[in-house]
């Protein structure tokens, strides 16, 4: 065996190990979600699966516990918040990248610093504001703070992507007959699509998993998002059904996993190649 092949084998072994470490908790969760309550205490878990048990676990979560509603709530809140954050953040990123107005750099870094604030620090004031607006127990009450949390990140990711596009492209488009807003819409948006998708991915993952602010704002069960619903499994009255908790976990992860995989295919860099020189 040549040194080259040894190197290949070693690198494959390392990659497989990393893959196993990364995937193991998720696989364990998946296996647990297929088990009955008694079986989950077996370590290591057996790979003997019972179809009726699987059906009962998932049926229980989806129908009896009403997870369809929670997934729907999460999807609405996540989708709307992300879209609004993008609609505001993409033009803002463009403006910060191109129009150097007085104090624009300071403003841009100030916006980012808002993102450093941990939710714990702001959850109570946000709750009070939302309550004052009468938006508690509604989608809008969740969407507003989530947009505020996501926006700085979107703006910053977009500034980076816009900065990579030469200014001459904008200028050429303006000489060709477009005004600034149309330059953004017709020429630049296709070029920063990877950036938009990166920003959307970060936003979706953050909002989908957000728990603390949601916990303050939403009390009525009908508006629970998945993280809040999942936490309700922990009650003082009854012991935890780990198999049911695992099923909830799987149902929480799957939508976000599907989204990430779909988006990933479009996040390709180097789309601006050939613009200049």
């Amino acid at each position: 065996m040549t040194a080259h092949r040894v190197g290949r084998v070693v690198s494959y072994v390392v990659m497989i190990l990393i893959g196993v470490v990364a995937a193991a908790p998720f696989l364990y969760l998946l296996v647990l979600s297929f088990k009955s309550r008694i079986d989950i205490l077996t370590v290591p878990p057996t790979l003997h699966f019972d179809w009726s048990q699987i059906k009962s676990n998932y049926g229980n979560v989806v129908h009896e516990q009403g997870y369809i509603t929670y997934i729907e709530n999460s999807a609405i809140v996540t989708g709307a918040s992300t879209l609004i954050a993008l609609a505001l953040g993409v033009p803002a990123g463009y403006a910060f990248s191109r129009l150097h107005f007085r104090g624009s750099d300071t403003l841009a870094s100030t916006i980012l610093s808002f993102r450093f604030m941990p939710p714990v620090a702001v959850a109570i004031p946000i709750f009070l504001m939302i309550r004052y607006l009468g938006l508690v127990n509604g989608y809008l009450g969740l969407i507003l703070p989530y947009v505020a949390f996501t926006l700085p990140l979107v703006v910053w990711i977009m500034i980076g992507f816009f900065d990579e596009i030469p200014h001459e492209i904008d200028e050429a488009a303006m000489v060709d007959g477009l005004t600034r807003p149309w330059v953004l819409l017709r020429v630049l948006l296709p070029l920063v699509r990877p950036g938009i998708l990166v920003a959307a991915t970060f936003g979706v993952i953050f909002i989908w998993n957000e728990f603390l602010v949601g916990l303050y704002i939403v009390n009525s069960q009908g508006h629970w998002t998945i993280p809040i619903a999942a936490s309700s499994l922990l009650t003082v009255e009854s012991p935890i059904d780990w198999n049911i908790a695992a099923t909830v976990g799987i149902l929480t992860v799957i939508p976000i996993l599907v989204f990430s995989m779909l988006v990933q295919r479009y996040i390709v860099r180097g789309i601006t190649a050939g613009a200049v020189r």
Binding site: E168, E171, A172, D176, A275, R277
Partner: protein, 414 residues
């Protein structure tokens, strides 16, 4: 097509930097006007102000009869070719060229016809379906041209469009752009820092320095009658030899004393430069183009008043001719304008100039016939074509006798 006129145009950036001052110039309908000058001279700023990409701080720019100062670029009906081409990377060549027409809601049939026509002129028919990333540098340059010509605009603006191409392709595209411009009869403003491009392409050339217009003239006039030391040393390759010389009256005529030798100034030359007489007894800047220097042994019978002796330093054999670098015992002209032109090439050339000045030696370049026996280390006798000497005032740096700095007659040298 239309005229472009600048009236006392100035540009001051927000940080207070001044890029252009009192710039006045009229570009005629269908004219190919070249703006040339070292980097930072304001040529690109002037161009971008016509395009509407840079606000006009002072004065007025007109395209045709319209003052365009406050107009958005899209309303000026100009097309621009950028230095880095600025093609839309996600669009095919066809879409790149068609884009401005589409934006202007041209009927699709019309778009198709005009894009095909532009592609034919530029030889891009086979590339229409490709994206910019798949094209060579020369092809991208053509697409950028295509994007401009398809519009049939009032004015073409080109910002160093050839500077990213390699030397051979540049020569070819130079001819091609000149041909297309001629074919379309389009008013064109072309910015370059390459004086060869300026000389070969322009109907007229405007030389800028530090935001000020130095001279506007057809290339040959610029070459033969530079208004000042800046234009004289900027235009021409190899550049004009400039040495300090004492002007003296002798036998009713004028002679020029260089390196202890006397060059007789023909009566005709003195007459054509009124005001030269007044410099008798003073030191002036003497300009001699390389082609005015020839190996005296090849020139036949050369009168004493047309000879200069010096020591050959280097010889460059170019096949058809020979460039001889000859050291004269005379101080070089080291005024600010000459330094700037040198510095634009490379800062080391200013240091060379200073060491020459300290040693009171100047290396001049002569274009000798290929039969010349001049070799490094040997003395050589040169024949100077005294009918085309250039004289400059070392204080004002202006040419003596003719030429103006900004076209305003009161600024003519005494």
């Amino acid at each position: 097509m239309a005229t472009v006129s600048f009236a006392d145009v100035g540009k001051v950036y927000r940080d207070g930097t001044r890029a252009l001052s009192e710039f006045s110039l009229d570009v005629a309908d269908g004219e190919f006007m070249v703006f040339v000058g070292p980097s930072g001279c304001g040529k690109t700023t002037a161009l971008r102000m016509v395009a509407g990409l840079e606000a006009i701080s002072e004065g007025e720019i007109r395209i045709g009869n319209t003052v365009v100062n406050g107009l958005h670029p899209r309303k000026r009906d100009v097309a621009m070719v950028f230095q880095n081409y600025a093609l839309y990377p996600h669009m095919t060549v066809y879409k790149n060229i068609a884009f401005s027409l589409k934006v202007r809601k041209t009927p699709p049939d019309d778009i198709h016809r005009r894009v095909e026509e532009a592609a034919r002129i530029l030889g891009l028919q086979d590339e229409l379906g490709r994206k910019p990333a798949q094209l060579s540098g020369g092809q991208r340059q053509r697409v950028a041209m295509g994007r401009a010509i398809v519009r049939n605009p009032q004015v073409f603006l080109m910002d160093e469009p050839l500077s990213n191409l390699d030397a051979k392709l540049r020569v070819q595209m130079r001819a091609e752009i000149a041909r297309i411009q001629h074919e379309l009869g389009a008013t064109t403003v072309y910015v370059t820092h390459d004086q060869v491009e300026a000389m070969t392409m322009g109907d007229r050339v405007a030389v800028l320095r530090r935001g000020r217009l130095q001279q506007v003239a057809p290339p040959q006039d610029l070459y033969e009658r530079p208004a000042n030391l800046f234009v004289a040393s900027f235009i021409g390759s190899p550049e004009m030899n400039l040495v300090e010389a004492g002007l003296e009256r002798h036998d009713g005529g004028l002679v020029c004393r260089v390196a202890g030798q006397a060059l007789e100034i023909p009566a005709g030359v003195a007459q054509a430069r009124p005001g030269l007489e007044a410099y008798a007894g003073k030191t002036v800047g003497l300009g001699i183009r390389p082609e005015q220097l020839e190996d005296a042994s090849l020139a036949g019978d050369v009168p004493a008043g047309q000879r200069l002796r010096g020591k050959v330093v280097t010889v460059e054999l170019l096949g058809s001719e020979l460039l001889a670098h000859v050291e004269l015992e005379a101080a070089p002209v080291t005024t600010q304008e000459v330094r700037e032109v040198r510095a634009d090439v490379d800062r080391s050339r200013v240091a060379d100039l200073e060491s020459e000045a300290r040693a009171q030696r100047t290396v001049v370049i002569g274009r000798f016939g290929i039969g010349s026996a001049a070799r490094p280390g040997e003395e050589v006798e040169m024949h100077v074509d005294t009918s085309r000497l250039y004289f400059f005032d070392l204080e004002s740096e202006d040419a003596i006798g003719y030429g103006t700095r900004t076209g305003k007659p009161e600024e003519v040298a005494p």
